[in-house]
Subunit: 226 residues, 2 copies
DNA sequence: AAGCTTCTTGGTCAAATGACCAAGAGCCTG
DNA sequence: CAGGCTCTTGGTCATTTGACCAAGAAGCTT
């Protein structure tokens, strides 16, 4: 992506893997190109030959990550016709990618903000492709009648993606829950909610239930600043 | 916290506000102490007098952020007896803090990993206090019978906190949804789930439902909202 | 106003960093 | 096997960075 050499013989992935590892461990801002070069088993000069700048490295890395997660999501969902099942498989694919040990996704989560200008735009374009993938899944679920019709799909998509991405923050290698188990549990929270069976509303719409409580005392942020 | 001078006369918050702003805009790793000093309206030497290192600055910042969000959460929930309502108010408080424009919380979200050793430990201790606050709210909801008894509270807490924190990533200043509205919608997703009313399970436990999905009887969906 | 503490000034310093390059080695193709 | 690629070597270079400090200003207490 960065260079358009007629024919490149080196393995791009080795370098990107090394970069992903270093960026994840140290953070993009604190990482140095020298560290990346060393992790890739080459001298800084060689790395510079491949990537003219640190940011070019980050850009390629993020494009790889976004392309991958989208591919994995599509593949996971491909052969399931049922919208609810597709949703569940999508959650699984996302979490399995995120927790697979692939450093790319961590870097994507933490350091995408470090890109500037056109690089940022390119990543945002890819990101919205992934978001569209999820919106499609959710609309399917609504249209099929499985999900309530009165959902704010965009908000719901962010809700779910946020919950999933956060798993990268708290799950340790030693956690007994597998990614698939977490995904399935999340799916059940999303599908059924927390409410006990005997507390489910009858005819009342959910929307009213959510809104009808009067606003509590609105407390402005405390601890005056600025 | 960092220094234990007998009596300090300067306003700690001015410096931390400046640091928060710079760290948020540039990322902790890429930010420099010089930038922070300038934003605080002082020379680098003066900043060094107050904070011996960049990391000490970050530590104080994170302790302030965590202390604040916990205070805000407790205050929001304080006078509501109903567990469901307490949950909703807790969500509101969290999102209102996060989206209030206070830079602290962004820095907390993105850069807590940059701390090392004892500083990291101190932040983790505070973080688990905040997590315990949420676990209490959730357990109340379960014990009161409002929520299903077969919930993995820890997983659920991470689920919700993740969804909320992600809002910081996507919401722009111009977004018409207020933090409180987002919180209420999230609450309704959490409480009721996505499932259409006529697809709700009968007597079966949700746990079983989560594992054995099948399409229910097809009837037109009822309620709509808005 | 003396005396003490708090904080600022205006620097220094060694180390690190991102970018860069001339020369050469290695390898494929014709 | 010669020519032309691709890639590596082993550096350089101007800046930037975090940390530090001696000396003095400012403010509070008595």
């Amino acid at each position: 992506m960065t260079k358009s050499l007629a024919r490149r013989t080196f393995d791009e992935d080795v370098v990107l893997d090394a970069a992903a590892h270093v960026f994840r461990k140290r953070g993009y801002g604190a990482a140095t190109v020298r560290e990346v070069a060393q992790a890739a088993g080459m001298l800084p000069g060689s790395l510079h030959y491949r990537y003219p700048s640190k940011e070019a490295l980050l850009l390629d890395l993020m494009e790889r990550a976004l392309t991958r997660v989208l591919e994995l999501g599509r593949a996971a969902v491909e052969h399931a016709p049922d919208p609810a099942e597709r949703l569940r498989l999508g959650l699984r694919a996302h979490l399995e990618a995120l927790l697979s040990g692939d450093d790319d996704f961590y870097v994507l989560l933490y350091d995408w903000r470090s890109l500037r200008g056109p690089s940022m735009q390119a990543v945002l374009r890819l990101r919205s492709r992934y978001e569209a993938f999820w919106d499609d899944l959710l609309w399917e679920a609504v249209r099929s009648g499985w999900a309530r019709p009165n959902l704010d799909v965009e908000l719901l998509r962010q809700f779910g993606i946020g919950a999933m991405n956060w798993v990268a923050q708290w799950r340790h290698e030693s956690d007994p829950r597998t990614p698939a188990e977490i995904a399935d549990t999340f799916w059940s929270y999303l599908a059924f909610g927390l409410l006990a069976e005997d507390k489910r509303p009858g005819k009342k719409t959910f929307g009213q239930m959510a809104k009808r409580r009067k606003a509590g005392p609105k407390r402005p942020a405390k601890g005056g600043r600025k």
